[in-house]
Each structure stands twice: as structure tokens, then as C-alpha cells.
Symmetry: C2
């Protein structure tokens, strides 16, 4: 898929505990990235309650990308686990274990009282991007079909190469996540390659 | 604004505590809707960590809406406080105190490696929709400029009338929030008017 891919990391899915204050022993922190014995990534069933980073529509990174037929639209929603998000807002980078979920949904124009533009309907696909020392590059993508465990996309994939080359911060497309940019700016974590490309871009 | 408006309700902004287990006395539940002495709504500074419901692009409900110039795009992101979301998933309706936030962001095509479609950039506007018995209709809209308290939009406004007439569930546009529809279906909370309109619509 030649649309927006993700970037990710989560030491723990402390969803509640970080924000909540007291933690009972029974509610021990849970990692967002949970692997099966054969190295697949468990589908994170609660990702829709993670922190929303942004949504794009019909984004493509290639001039040669197949032209979409009229009325064939797709949104990309990106979520990150809460612990990773909280860490990023403080440090401008992602802790080991961070998990991002990319959810692609069909966009439709005609429905209820809507007359133009698009709203989101059914899920077209889901992928995860995980920061973890267990991977050679420190990051890996996983593709899901349904809600079963997802298989790792090879480290040499287009996803990996594009993120390594073009991501604004720590292998993730912070250039498309407006609420993360202040933390990257404050912590000076924008990549040198990204800053150079922006400087050279015709504005 | 003739684009998507919100629908809302939150007994408490138990953001952490509901999910977190033990709650210390110092971390007492906090309502998502907090009013000033003169009846304005405090800007909910943490709304970007609430539950994301959906995002649309360039949605309009009126055939007569001003045609947008090419490259003039806007996304509508809708968030609801976590306690309200959790209640809706169980009951198919909103508890008193629920708060929805509508965030409108500019969509841009040209940036970094993107070639088509749109990604989100700066904030164009923000509104809240609150379910609270203190309002005549049980619901009210608030407009914010910046992060100060928001003023109530009159109960007779287009926002109120359109939500009362067309919203699929309890004054909110659940027809545009795909992750809420199963709970509405299971709890049979779709409004009679909405079901009748859908039945009559040419598919």
C-alpha cells in the first residue's frame, strides 16, 4: 500500500495507570506490544481508545500511484499507545516498546444528510509499527488481516525504507502529526535529513 | 459553520481512574464539563487524549453551501470524553455530563513527501457539544476562540435544530461514527426519525 505508513513505540500500555495516580498490584502495567511464540504481534484490541495522532485522506507518496476512481476514497487514522504518547510529549522521542496503529477506512460522500466531502465507514486495513530492540533496525511493521496476530513485514520493505529515509522524528512521520511537533521542536529531535529536505523545499 | 456538528455527554472525566483500577482520594473523578460562574464552558485542555470518534473531510449538509476553492480543505475531528464513551459502549446512549469536542483543521496536499490527498495541519476552530440537564433541550453547543471559556450557542441555533432533527442517536451523529454503531444497534437506540429516513433513502 503506497499511502501513509506509521511510526511507533511503547514501554507499557499504562493506559490508565500513568494518568490515574495509584496503581493496584492487580493492575500491573501492560505492554502495548505483545508477541506470540512465533514472533507475530498480537492485535491490540483496544487501539481505538489510544491517543489519536491524525487522519489523512487519499494520501500518497508516489507520483506514479494508481489514480483512484472518483468516489473511491480512503482515510488513514493513526493511533499511538498512551504511555508512548506521554513519553513523547516530554522527550520528543519514542520509548522502546511504542506501538502505532494505522487504520484505513473507506470514505463515502452519500449518507444521511451529508452532501459533499467524505465521512468514514468500514475498515479497509490495519497495520502496526513497533519500536523494539528485538528488531534489527529497532523498528518493525506488522500487517493484520482481521483481529488475529499480525505477521512482520520484512525489514527491507518499502515501509521500512521510506520511514528510515523520510520520517521527521525517530522513524515516524511527525511531519503529519500536528500535536507532536511542539515537543520535537522543544527537544530538537527533528532528524537532520528531514530538516535539510524542508530547507531545500520550495515553499 | 455548515459542516458536521457534534453530539455529547460525560458524567466524569475519569480518564484514568475508570481504566486504572484503584483511585486515590487525591485523584477524585473530574467532570469533563466544567462551567464558569457566568455559564461559559471551560476549554477542556486535554481533549486530544479523549476517545477519537471519527474524522471527515469537507463535509457539508447543505446543497447551497459555498463551493470551496480547490486546495481549500478542512477536516473535522470529533472526540468524546472517556467516561461517556465507555458508558455508550454499554448502553447505546450518553450519560448526563457527556462532552464532545469538534476540532476543525486545515487540510493540505503539499508537504514533505506527500503528493496527493490531504493531511491535517493547523486548527481552524473548535466547538463543544454537552449533554446536561441544566440546558432546556438537555444539550448545548459552545464555541471557543483560543483556549478560554466558550460561550453557549443559542438553543434555537441551526446546530441544535439540525442535531435534534437528524442525529441518529440521542442528538448525536452516530451515523458518522462507525465504532459506536454496534452499541446503538444492540441497545436499539437509533432514533425512529433516523431509521425512517434511512428506510426511505435511495441506496
Amino acid at each position: 500500500m503506497k499511502r501513509r505508513m506509521l511510526g511507533a513505540s511503547a514501554l507499557v500500555a499504562l493506559t490508565a495507570s500513568l494518568a490515574g495516580g495509584a496503581i493496584s498490584q492487580a493492575e500491573a502495567p501492560r505492554r502495548a506490544a505483545v508477541y506470540t511464540a512465533d514472533g507475530k504481534l498480537e492485535f491490540p484490541k483496544d487501539y481505538r481508545t489510544w491517543v489519536f495522532l491524525s487522519s489523512g485522506v487519499d494520501m500518497t507518496y508516489s507520483d506514479a500511484a494508481m489514480a483512484m476512481a472518483a468516489n473511491n476514497h480512503a482515510f488513514d487514522n493513526v493511533f499511538v499507545d498512551r504511555a508512548a504518547h506521554d513519553a513523547f510529549q516530554k522527550t520528543g522521542t519514542w520509548p522502546d516498546g511504542s506501538v502505532f496503529m494505522l487504520e484505513v477506512r473507506r470514505g463515502e460522500t452519500n449518507g444521511s444528510i451529508n452532501r459533499r466531502g467524505q465521512f468514514q465507514t468500514g475498515v479497509l486495513g490495519r497495520e502496526a509499527h513497533v519500536k523494539d530492540k528485538r528488531f534489527k533496525s529497532g523498528w518493525a511493521f506488522f500487517g493484520f488481516s482481521g483481529e488475529g496476530p499480525g505477521r512482520e513485514i520484512p525489514q527491507t520493505s518499502d515501509c521500512n525504507q521510506c520511514h528510515e529515509k523520510h520520517a521527521a522524528v525517530d522513524t515516524t512521520f511527525v511531519q503529519f502529526y500536528p500535536t507532536l511537533q511542539a515537543a520535537a521542536q522543544a527537544n530538537k529531535t527533528f532528524s537532520a535529513a528531514y530538516l535539510a529536505a524542508e530547507k531545500g523545499a520550495v515553499k
